[in-house]
Every structure is written in C-alpha cells, then in structure tokens.
C-alpha cells in the first residue's frame, strides 16, 4: 500500500459509498416498478400520502399501485439521508476537494430528484416523469463513481506494475458508447412515460413491416384492434416512431460496445481490468437486448420491463466507470516520450495520450 493509500483510504467511508450506490440502484428498480405498474399517480398528494404524514401511512392501506409509489417515496427518503451523510463525511474526512464538492452536488441532485417526483404528482404533469427518470440515472452514476473513488484500488493507483496506457481512440469510443446508452435511456424513459402500453407489439417486424405505416388510416386500424387491460390509450405515430428509434438505438449500442470490448482486449490484453469491464459491459448489453425483446413478447410484463430498466441503468454505470478509468489511464500515465528515449528510441504508438 502506498503512502497516499495508507494515509487517506477509509474503508468505512468506502463501504458506506458502496451501500449508497446499491440502495440507489434498488431505488431505480422500485421507481421502475411504479411506472411499469402505471402507479405514478396512485397517491394523489405529496409530500403527504392520502392525507397522512408519509412516514405514518398505515401499512393496511399499502394496496395496489399505492404499495409501489409509497415504498418508492420511503426508499427515496432513505437515499436522500444516505446522500447527506456521505456528503458530510466527505466534507469532514475527504482530502480531495473535488470529491467534497461532488458530494454536495449529489445532495443538490437528490433534492432536485425529490422535488421533480413530487411536482409530477402535485402538478399532475406526467411528462415530468421523463426528467425524474433521467436525473435518477445521472445520480446513480455519481453514487457508483463515489464508490470507485473511495476504493483502495483507486488510492493504490500507480503502484507497480503501472497500468497500461489507454489510447485516445479507445477512451473516445468508451465515452461515445456511454453517451449513446444515456440517449437510449432517455428515449426509453420518454416511451414509458407516454403511458400508452406497447406502441408496437410484434418483433422483429413492426405491424408486420420493417418500418410501420403511421398514416391516420393505419393508426385507426391499429387502435381498433388493440385491446389492453391497462392504460388503453390510443397509440400515436410519435409513439410508434419512438419505439422504432429505440430499436435502432439498441443495434447501434450493441455494435459500439462490441467495438469497445474488442479494442480493449486487443490493446490491453484480456486480463486488463478495463478489458474485463468492457467484456462485462458487452454481456450486459446482450442481456438488455434479450430483456427488451421479452418485454415485447410478454406484453410489457411489469417485472420484465422493470428488469430492462435496471439493466439499462447498470449498462450506463458500467460505461461511466469505464470512462473514468480510461480517462485516468491517459491522464496519469507516465511520460511515454521520456520513457522511450531511455529505452532506446522506440516510438510511441500513434494516438496514445501522454499527458500527466
């Protein structure tokens, strides 16, 4: 363990950061269940619950959609408290100023999240759910980054053997793939918050075609034939197109993550942590595509749809952690130019960042 690690690594802070990240991930799942069960408006008031103080609402009344919405609010309050504790802990014990600042940013984000969720209910603005779902993903990434940055592994960075350099190209590809996943998540959130059920119910075709007809006559036909147990909202051309772009997005992301995993393995070797992370990332994308297809086949069964949300979130987190690691491995790599001079004139591979 290096001196830096010995002095500053705080295992209990790290475990607390991990716990916060995991509980936040579970909160994303619970939020997913709220939307999957169409329960977002099942508690008409906020911050009270059917007139009760939220923390005193009788368990006997946790019925139907109320169960999901109310437990979501309770777990959200828990995550809020954990975030405040983490921020204060950083403030008191964390030597890295940027991390202390991010701790307070997390507090602001979690408050914004709570207010967004509350306003969605009290102002009856279902579309606010899209922003609520998106901010949730950003917050989740931050909590997992906290877990990474407080880890012994991160503090021990640079110990012999030094991690291999990451090329600028690979770093860029990981970033782009992560951003694509974030856009895909926003698209998914927009789809789910239309509250119109599945706009397209067949796969791999869409209404029997490669690209479905969205003329008014076709829409009238689709809506006449559709029978749904919940929502029963007529499907629109916009909703059909959203789903088509979501399907296309899945293909593009799959190809992007395949490229990242292949490039990482080729450049860094299969045992490198970044290569292994990229391989795990690819496995998640495979799983995510399977869940997406099963969401369609199961007519958006709540548990499958929610799992799809959670694996999507995990895919984003994996990409984000990959970005953080890749950027550090170009940011703190030893001066390659001076090393090659010492070793006798080998040229550095083109495109490799040599910043300190």
């Amino acid at each position: 363990m290096n001196e830096n690690c010995q002095t500053h690594y705080n295992p209990w802070l790290h475990y607390f950061a991990i716990a916060t990240a995991i509980i936040t991930f579970l909160l994303i799942g619970l939020g997913g269940l709220v939307t999957s069960h169409e329960a977002g408006m099942s508690v008409p008031d906020w911050p009270n619950t059917y007139g009760y103080n939220m923390f005193l609402f009788p368990i006997s009344k946790w019925v139907g959609g109320v169960f999901y919405e109310h437990t979501h609010r309770l777990l959200a309050s828990t995550v809020g408290l954990l975030t405040v504790i983490l921020a204060v802990w950083f403030w008191r014990r964390e030597p890295r100023r940027w991390l202390r600042s991010l701790g307070w940013l997390a507090v602001v984000l979690v408050i914004v999240q709570g207010v967004l969720g509350g306003l969605r209910v009290s102002l009856k603005m279902a579309w606010l759910g899209v922003f609520h779902g998106t901010v949730a993903q950003v917050f989740l990434v931050l909590t997992f980054c906290f877990a990474l940055w407080t880890s012994r592994w991160w503090w021990q960075w640079g110990q012999s053997p030094a991690p291999a350099l990451v090329s600028r190209g690979l770093r860029r590809h990981v970033l782009y793939a992560t951003l694509l996943i974030f856009l895909q998540l926003m698209l998914g959130a927009t789809m789910r918050h239309q509250h119109a059920g599945l706009a397209i119910q067949d796969f791999p075709l869409a209404y029997g075609q490669l690209w479905p007809d969205t003329s008014p006559e076709a829409l009238a036909r689709y809506n006449a034939d559709r029978v749904e147990v919940v929502t029963e909202t007529p499907v629109t051309a916009f909703q059909i197109e959203l789903q088509m772009f979501h399907r296309l997005g899945a293909v593009i992301i799959f190809l992007a993550v395949v490229a990242c995993a292949w490039q990482a393995r080729r450049q860094l070797g299969g045992r490198d942590v970044l290569a292994r992370l990229a391989a795990g990332w690819l496995a998640l994308i495979f799983l995510q595509i399977g869940l997406g297809i099963e969401t369609l086949h199961s007519n958006k069964a709540a548990d499958i749809a929610t799992l799809h949300v959670m694996i999507g979130a995990l895919s984003l987190v994996t990409g984000a952690l990959g970005c953080v690691i890749a950027f550090r491995r170009t940011g703190t790599a030893p001066d390659f130019a001076s090393q090659t001079a010492i070793s006798g004139g080998l040229t550095s591979p083109a495109g490799w960042a040599v910043n300190k």
Binding site: H37, E38, A39, G40, M41, S42, V43, P44, D45, Y50, G51, K61, V63, G64, G65, V66, E69, K124, A220, R221, N223, A224, D225, R226, V227, E228, V229, V230, T231, E232, T233
Partner: protein, 239 residues
C-alpha cells in the same frame, strides 16, 4: 269564458309544440369479428379486489357485440348541435366503482350535468381524469386526481364543454377504466346490449347524425326530422 279560451289556447300550443318534435330511433350493428377481449388477470392478484370474483377474473368489454351483431356502448348524437344543453336541470349521472371496476365503462351526459362518482368498494381508489379539452380540465382542476377512501363520500364533477370519451382511471388499480362522453345538447343516446337507441323530441330540421364507438371509430348519416319518428341504422365493420 275567457279563462276557458286561454286554457284551450295553451293546450293547443302544447300539442303543437309536441307535434313539431320527433324521435330518432334505430339500431347499430357490428359486421365481422371484433378483437378478442382480454381477461383482467391482475384483478385476482389483489386480495380485496379478487375476493369479488371467486377465482374467475372478468374480461374487458370494449366491443359489446350480440349474437346477431347488435353493437352496444355506441354514442349516437346530433353532430354540431350545441348550446342546447339541459344538463344543469338533468339528474346527476352516476359512475360507480364496484368490484374494483368502473360501472358503467361507457357513459354519456350533457355539458353542465353533474356526474357523481361513487366508491362502493371496501378499498381506496383514486379517481383520475384525463380531459383533453382545457376548459374541462380547468373546471375540475381541484379533483382531477382525487383520493376516494373505502366507501368514502361521493365525488362530483361537471364539464362545461363537449368532449368524446374522456378517460377516467384509477392508478391504484390500473385496469379500472371508464370513458365519459359529454354532449352539448339533450339529443343523444347510448346503445344498449341490443344495439338499439332512441333520441327523443328532436326538433324538425336537417342534421348529421353521428355514431361514435371508442374503438371502432365514428360513422355519420345525414337525416331530416319532420313531424314523425325517423329510423336510422348504423353499421360498423371490423377493420
């Protein structure tokens, strides 16, 4: 004598007034096979709601079609006839929540007419409206998503503007759905399971009669009402 003459005059006017209005009667049928209804399986997952059904979940009934094609739950009305509403004087229409289902699923009423929403269930519901006409949303803003406790007090709504198939839902029990059509005149009817309708006391004139079904769409016919009943039949076809 003057009194007798006055009464006679009033009587003749009354007869005259009645004689100048007529009924529009008819039948709506559905041709072809409607989409299959779905079993509302989630209702059995809820212990309180499921208790009403003895293990046999109800189905949706979006297409109420009889053995001979009689088409129920179609709203038949005079198109573009507005400003004639007698809703404020009409008795309240009633939408009930019973067995964790809205009853009826399709309902029609006039602008200004009261709508009473009851909760006859031993479980809480939330009554959540989705008006697409802004004036209807504004008029009911305070109760647009209202809690209604088990066997709780009735909720009351009134809609100032016409709107087709305004959706009511319960988010606690998301399969609970109903659609209310608001008409700006008393000249409307809803077909029963026998597909029949009667629109009473329509003043003479030329009109467009429209038959609306939430899923099957709308179909119209131009008619002329004189001083005798008019028979108009509609047919919807499977798409």
């Amino acid at each position: 004598m003057n009194k007798i003459l006055s009464f006679l005059a009033i009587g003749l006017l009354g007869v005259g007034a009645t004689a100048s209005a007529a009924d529009i009667i008819g039948t709506v049928t559905f041709k072809g096979t409607p989409p299959a209804e779905k079993v509302i399986t989630p209702i059995l997952d809820d212990p309180t709601c499921g208790a009403s059904y003895n293990g046999k979940a109800p189905t949706t009934h979006f297409y109420v079609v009889g053995a001979k094609g009689e088409f129920g739950d179609v709203i038949v009305s005079l198109k573009d006839v507005s400003g004639k509403s007698t809703g404020s004087a009409a008795p309240a229409a009633v939408l009930d929540q019973k067995g964790c289902l809205y009853t009826p699923t399709i309902l029609a009423l006039q602008t200004g007419q009261k709508l009473t929403v009851k909760n006859s269930d031993p479980v809480l519901h939330n009554v959540h409206l989705n008006p697409t006409v802004p004036d209807n949303a504004t008029a009911n803003a305070a109760s647009i998503n209202a809690a209604q406790m088990a066997n709780g007090p009735d909720l009351t709504y009134s809609f100032p503007k016409p709107e087709k198939f305004l959706k009511f839902q319960c988010d606690v029990h998301p399969w609970m759905l109903a659609w209310v059509t608001i008409v700006d005149s008393p000249y409307y009817a809803q077909t029963g399971a026998d597909g029949k309708f009667v629109i009473k006391n329509v003043p003479p004139g030329k009109y467009t009669l429209v038959a609306d079904h939430r899923k099957a769409g709308e179909t119209t016919q131009d008619i002329e009402v004189k001083d005798t009943d008019v028979t108009v039949n509609f047919t919807f076809e499977a798409k």
